[in-house]
């Protein structure tokens, strides 16, 4: 586009524009779900199981019901739902054990926090007190917490009826991988543990349901309002058009709000039952306990190479702890990771075998990166292990095996077709910012003071832009939905524009980047482009924000709709200025006639014609707006190279990340500042996992890390100032060449940090460590290494 759009004649796309959405958010004028209230509204508090596994013998709500202001106490049987909570992944040809999962337990609880009853009343505090007066008698059942334990014969069964704790098995790749490994000069095997984490958005979940005259409105802190509407219709037995779901301002999701939660259906059912609006707001403790967790995989990685460092095969056997129930995408998460388990490299053969397992813990599901951080972690950590085994520089091993840029689009050993990539290019750019030899020299000097400095790398590629329906949908991978996106671009009579997107941004800055894209194409300012989303009643059907899809799928739908608007604008201009539509082009903010730039019309003038319809020919259809749906042909595959420098205090085991350099390639930048923001947050998230955060259950299935005192989310004080740069290799899938970047930092960073710590400690003889690298774990490893030396 030659859409020169402001007084400088510079396009808006590519600029570090401040976020349009920020002023209300940072001045306390945001409207989150809990900021919405309705007359007559009641509050809900949920009675949750303190047991990890038990039969519910009886529930005595009589005392609670007598408390002042309590309207009702309801249990599982009272809700009258048509169907249980959904699991939307039904992979063709795969047997899967799917237990019923109801918003309130029916007879059995399977993890701590499993809801058994709801108390509804007038006062949000009083209902919490009343919930303590609901007496539930439990008959405890044996508990299983460790996924590998759970697979053993004779292990306690989470769901008796299946006769096993195995959920499913799913494989991808070649049958000959073990033969290839056998023929390889060098084969190493590592057991890589990727522990459980929480999404921990600043705003916990919240739901406000209002049912009146047969219409249901649910305001909920979600990433997927359209999905929630569909599932509410199915669960409540209502017709979809009678339901409106609104995601107002949402204070972060990180995947934890890509879900159809029991509380959403529960509030809706109770609102219908009592004919009163009902609000429920999750507490932080509840969030840590019952909002789905992420990760929790144990992988055995076998990797082979020739003596001179050519990769041969990789075989990953992965046990995924799925928790007690299968929620929206629970069993799909490890599969999403499997797609990129060959990373940036060429292999003769690769194979991934996944086993999903039930345990008495809350379900796992998508948390930022959803499977790809786990995949990258196991691959990039093992790459460093292999380099050490071969006596090769870890970067040299990577360089020898990168898919060269000439080969794109490149089919991988696992059958994915990567759209574009230049792995040597991003690595070379990274090394312009950081010189490993210099870090090693600094390390020499520091060691005398007991500080062990190390450097670690991660060169990653990921898969995002969910998703081509043909590949991801029912007949392909098995997601029970199309995964396209929609947009409606409406030019108002004044020339101002409203864009409706089916995505549901919740902090990413898409109001700004979408506006930049549209502004350039229509010759206006982004300030004149209002972006609307997150309300099923306003725009066309959409699918939400997750999987780094909003720009590469949602943005493409917007481009497509905008092109349709432009087509019509051209026809209007052509008619008014007596030229051919093909000769109308956008120049300096006006649609003008090629060759005579003084003859043209602004968007406002065109809109005036379109709506006033004074001068248009007979049969002209008034208005200036268009809807478009976009279903991508392929996924997009962003990539990059990251480096971490850490200092380890070997006396205490404390790890400090002192430098972090990231070069990411997500195609052409729409707004580099937003990319930086996403990368920063993503890296913080992964450093959090590598060093600090861990959801921990004890052997009885009790959650130990139920608050932010125990669940160590890092703050700015724990993180270095990130150094970021980009290369821009356009995707061949999207018209703008854009990929996604919302999860890249999280996908890349944990192996860089772990590799750096191992690099730091190699002089002590430490060769391998699993996350989280808590001070105690590192200290113990140092102790053992030193004992080994003494022995």
């Amino acid at each position: 586009m030659s859409g020169a759009s402001d007084s400088n004649g510079q396009p808006w796309v590519g600029r570090r524009l401040r976020r349009k959405e920020d002023p209300p958010l940072i001045t306390g004028r945001g409207r989150y779900t809990d900021d919405h209230s309705l007359p007559g509204m009641l509050f809900a508090a949920i009675v949750r199981s303190p047991e990890a596994h038990a039969r519910v013998v009886s529930i005595d709500a009589s005392a609670a019901k007598q408390r002042p202001g309590v309207h009702a106490v309801l249990t599982g049987e009272d809700l009258r739902l048509e169907s249980p909570l959904p699991c939307a992944w039904v992979p063709p040809g795969v047997e899967m054990n799917v237990p019923d999962h109801w918003p309130l337990a029916r007879g059995e609880v399977n993890h701590v926090g499993d809801p058994v009853a709801v108390v509804v009343g007038q006062d949000r505090y009083a209902v919490v007190d009343a919930a303590e007066d609901v007496f539930v008698e439990y008959d405890p059942l044996p508990v299983v917490v460790d996924p590998q334990e759970a697979l053993r014969d004779g292990a306690p069964l989470v769901h008796e009826q299946f006769g096993t704790n195995r959920v499913h098995r799913w494989s991808l790749g070649a049958d000959d991988v073990e033969q290839v490994l056998e023929r390889s000069d060098v084969v190493i095997e590592r057991r890589i543990v990727n522990h459980r984490t929480s999404g921990a958005p600043i705003e916990p979940r919240a739901v406000l349901a209002d049912y009146r005259s047969g219409e249901l409105t649910v305001t909920t802190s979600t990433q997927v309002p359209h999905f929630v509407r569909l599932f509410l219709a199915l669960m409540l037995g209502m017709s979809e058009e009678r339901i409106r779901v609104i995601a107002p301002d949402v204070g972060g999701g990180f995947g934890a709000k890509l879900q159809m939660y029991g509380e959403e259906a529960l509030c809706a059912a109770v609102a219908r039952h009592l004919n009163r609006p009902v609000k429920w707001v999750e507490t932080r403790s509840e969030h840590m306990m019952v909002s789905h967790h992420g990760r929790d995989q144990v992988a055995t990685v076998r990797m082979g190479a020739t003596r001179d460092g050519r990769l041969t095969g990789v075989h990953i056997q992965l046990v995924a702890d799925l928790g007690a129930y299968l929620m929206l995408l629970t069993p799909l998460i490890p599969t999403l990771g499997a797609f990129v388990m060959t990373g940036c490299y060429e292999w003769e053969s690769a194979r991934v075998d996944i086993t999903g397992v039930f345990t008495n813990k809350v379900a796992t599901d998508a948390i930022r990166g959803a499977g790809r951080p786990e995949a990258t972690h196991m691959l990039e950590v093992t790459m460093d292990q292999l380099a050490a085994e071969l006596g090769l520089d870890p970067l040299e091993l990577r360089r020898r095996n990168f898919i060269p840029k000439e080969r794109f689009p490149a089919e991988t050993a696992l059958g994915m077709v990567y759209d574009s990539g230049d792995y040597h290019g991003t690595l070379a750019r990274l090394l312009e910012h950081i010189d490993p030899a210099e870090v090693r020299r600094e390390a020499e000097g520091l060691r005398a003071r007991g500080v062990y400095r190390g450097i670690g790398f991660s060169t990653y590629t990921e898969i995002c832009g969910l998703a081509p329906s043909r590949i991801a949908g029912p007949a392909g991978v098995g997601v029970q939905a199309g995964l396209w996106e929609s947009a409606l671009v409406r030019v108002h009579v004044s020339g101002a524009v409203t864009v409706y997107s089916g995505t549901s941004p919740h902090g990413q800055g898409l109001d700004t980047s979408f506006a930049q894209i549209v502004a350039d194409r229509l010759g206006i300012s982004p300030q004149q482009v209002e972006v609307m989303h997150g309300d099923t009643a306003t725009g066309p059907q959409g699918l939400g924000t997750y999987g780094s899809r909003s720009l590469s799928v949602g943005g493409e739908a917007i481009v497509k709709a905008t092109e349709r608007v432009i087509d019509k604008a051209r026809r209007i201009v052509a008619h008014r200025l007596e030229a051919a539509p093909e000769d109308v082009e956008l120049r300096e903010g006006r649609f003008s006639i090629a060759g005579s730039p003084d003859r043209g019309m602004t968007l406002a003038e065109i809109a005036g014609e379109a709506y006033v319809v004074d001068n248009m020919p007979a049969g002209f259809e008034p208005g200036l707006e268009a809807t478009a749906f976009y279903d991508p042909e392929n996924f997009v595959f962003p990539f990059g190279a990251h480096a971490a420098v850490v200092d380890v205090d070997v006396e205490t085991g404390k790890v400090d990340v002192v430098r972090y350099v990231a070069v990411d390639d997500c195609g052409p930048a729409i707004n580099p500042m937003l990319i930086d923001g996403q990368v920063h947050g993503g890296i913080a998230h992964a450093i959090g996992q590598a060093l600090y955060e861990r959801i921990h259950y004890d052997d009885e299935g009790q959650l130990v890390t139920g608050t932010f005192v125990d669940y160590a989310l890092p703050s700015a004080a724990e993180l270095p100032s990130f150094e970021t740069d980009r290369t821009e290799t356009p995707s061949t899938t999207t018209s703008m060449g854009v990929k996604g970047v919302g999860e890249a930092g999280t996908i890349a960073a944990s192996p860089a940090v772990v590799n750096a710590v191992v690099d730091a400690l190699r002089p002590l003889g430490i060769e391998f460590l699993n996350m989280p690298l808590s001070p105690q774990r590192v200290w113990e490893a140092v102790q053992q290494a030193q004992e080994g030396v003494r022995a």
């Binding site: 007190d129 403790s285 205490t652 600090y692 130990v704 005192v709 703050s715 105690q776």
Partner: protein, 285 residues
Amino acid sequence: MIPAEFDYTAPDTLDAVFAALADGGEDAKLLAGGHSLLPLMKLRLAFPSLLVDLRRVPGLSGVTRSNGDFRIGAMTPHAVLEHTGELGLVARVAGTIADPQVRHRGTIGGSLAHGDPASDLPAAMLVTEARMTLRSAGGAERTVAADDLFVDYLTTAVGEGEVMTEVAVPALDGWGFGYAKFNRRAEDWAMVAACAVVQAQDGVCRDVRVGLTNMASRPLRAEAVEDALRGQPLEADAIARAAELAAEGTDPPGDLNATPDYKRHLARVMTRRALAEAAGTEPGR
């Protein structure tokens, strides 16, 4: 995250506070900064029926020097201590408590009366040999030495109906001081911490006091370390040798982040670092 129902009052005078406490009975609790009490209430681990807020009572906040003591009002927030450099060790320690928000709300009186062995100020009180003034109804008043104040986990000598009004911290003029706090994140409580004050004469340790945080159900003095260092040259070797004794007589509780053994090890390292900072042989971290 929602506390059980309670009543609240904020009297204007100390006498009115005592009256409210008496009326409220044993379930009445004083409220200072609320940063220990309110979290316990929200987690439903504490259920006071009445909160008696001290914030309107005049004269309970501020730092003055009189004779050899600093007199610190019980309602003085950590942030004020942090920025009163003359307080030496106490300022140094207060600056490591949590984050600026907590330091602006939390008070020295609340921290000491609460008696959490993981809190930072209690060990500093042991080391400075501070004294606390406790007042009760009818003008009664008593002074408790820091060593007698801390009884057990979340248990102090502050009796029902008593209000801590002031903390007298001897000004250790000319003493060096150091603090080494080990935690995972800047805003965390100490996994283990050690504070030290050292009086040097011609490079020799004339006197030394070392306090340990989170190494038992109450803060401790590391007497073995003190005895070993007193009279020794204030040099790295002697300090390191003395610090090796830091875990003697401790009984650290294990938790998710640290086993007792690891804590004992940390106590030795932190003690060495605190002493080195106090003696000026190593900069504080």
